[in-house]
Amino acid sequence: MYGNDFSAPDDAPGGGLLGEVEAAEAALREAAARARRGGPAPDEDLEAYFADVIDADQKIEPRDWMPEAYRKTLIRQIAQHAHSEIIGMQPEGNWISRAPSLKRKAILLAKVQDEAGHGLYLYAAAETLGVSRDELVELLISGRQKYSSIFNYPTLTWADVGAIGWLVDGAAIVNQVPLCRCSYGPYARAMIRVCKEESFHQRQGYEILHTLAHGTPGQKAMAQDAVDRWWYPSLAMFGPPDGDSTHSAQSMAWKIKRFSNDDLRQRFVDMCVQQAEILGLRIPDPDLRWNDERQAYDYTQPDYDELMQVIKGNGPCNRQRMEHRRRAHADGAWVREAAAAYAAKRSANNKEKVAA
């Protein structure tokens, strides 16, 4: 595809995480090769069988029996992820028309297109759980299902496109790499593909910031400003602190979720510090420092009250993002109706031909 024609600097990030994705993919193949037990015995307790499959680190597949709460949790989580991809097209799409070079325009267009692809792919994974894409789109549009709160922040400058790639995609990958080992097969497989592309996006974002940080003073200031604004919202992407997280314990037991919010947040912080040094940009946290005892960085927590406000709909762009999606959906209704009518006519014509 056009636009992927740049070479990333040698010190670009993503290598370690990509390695984890590949390891997860290998584990998935290996688990498939081990072949699960041949299904539950006629008089076997289905719940016990389900627990066995999970314990053996094998995958639950669409036709397997599963607890209703497991199904619901997965639908909610996969749909929320799909919605995030679709809404996430807006903040970055905002800069396609103004990208500062043709190469950057091509890369950005391709990236936003990838997000649409991820959305479709994830809706398809959710559909294996017995819900339709139309239903899920309706849940998004009516505001009954959420998308990642990060996309309720505005992209004010070109450097925001770089910061989203580096920080937001970076946080998304840290969140999603463990999902490549999720107990539900279709989701795990979808995440492997998504993570590979996301790690590519993260490199692109990093490269944008790298170029800006080594450019004119105006460009460097733009890059620093973007990092200043996106750092804490990116930390908040891992969700509330472990003590306040409502879904975590059960999801961990089901191997849908494999690390706690705070563990993943820490992993992200530790990953970013070194990358920021190479970029020559400052992480806006005066209390960020290495803790020898913990072998990790101490850092300032994001403002969780702000996160709660954004989740409730009071972020800078919640209304705008929803309005945009609703309008696109409504404006396209006559086109979808026409396509359906045309398809119906064609299939009626074909039937006549067959009958004749």
Partner: protein, 241 residues
């Protein structure tokens, strides 16, 4: 028209401005699949634009690269046809624009693929495959909308009527060019007639035939389009991105 610089520049500008307009659809398409398809076509157009503008810059020999040509020319220096700069309108207008553009670009790139200029021939060979897909995609939508519902038929016919006058500029004779656009007309007419008939749409009568894009005399829309496209690049003179 004059030498091959102008010719290549005009094709590059067609592709660039078409890409810019198609890119505006991102996150706004009627279906997610269509969002992906429109971005794909925008990427193809942008890719062709980059190859053509780079080559135009080399032909000119004044040291201008693709970005200098895209971001640092004013509207009177752009050589694209008026068709591509027209606003997107509704989905029917966008499909009418894309249908007419690709019905012109396909025979154009095909002819270029066999021309004596090796660079242009290579670009034509690559781009014609993409144009074939664009034409296929647009023609399918013209048929779906033309022969879909009453509303879609009305909108598609209105779109064809609105855009049709701007197609004539594409075929203005230029015997000195590597491919004379006038020679592409028959191919275009045949495609258009077949698809419109299948779509139960009426081909408009030819009356008003606006033009001037190839001489840098555009519609009022182009200056706004360029203002948006060029704003960031121009705000940081000499910066690298």
């Amino acid at each position: 028209m004059t030498g091959s610089f102008d010719f290549v520049l005009s094709l590059g500008d067609d592709a660039l401005i078409a890409a810019q307009r198609l890119g505006e659809w991102t996150s706004r398409a009627p279906e997610m699949e269509e969002d992906i398809a429109l971005a794909n076509i925008a990427l193809d157009q942008l890719g062709a634009a980059r190859l053509l503008l780079t080559y135009a810059g080399e032909l000119e020999g004044a040291g201008r690269d693709e970005d200098a040509l895209a971001f640092l020319r004013d509207d009177r220096e752009f050589r694209n046809c008026l068709l591509v700069e027209l606003p997107n309108g509704d989905f029917a207008v966008t499909m009418a624009k894309l249908f007419f553009l690709s019905a012109y670009q396909l025979p154009l790139y095909t002819a270029l693929a066999g021309c004596a200029d090796e660079r242009l021939a290579a670009i034509g060979a690559k781009a014609r495959k993409e144009s074939a897909y664009h034409l296929d995609h647009a023609a399918l939508w013209v048929k779906r909308l033309g022969d879909g519902t009453e509303e879609s038929h009305r909108r598609m016919q209105a779109a064809v009527d609105e855009v049709w006058p701007y197609t004539h500029e594409l075929f203005a004779a230029d015997p000195a060019a590597p491919v004379d656009p006038a020679t592409l007309r028959a191919d275009f007419d045949a495609t258009v007639s077949t698809v419109l008939a299948e779509a139960t749409l009426t081909r408009p009568e030819t009356g008003w035939t606006p033009g001037g894009g190839r001489d840098g005399v555009h519609t009022e829309h182009v200056s706004y389009l360029l203002a948006e496209m060029q704003v960031l690049h121009r705000a940081h003179p000499g910066a690298k991105w």
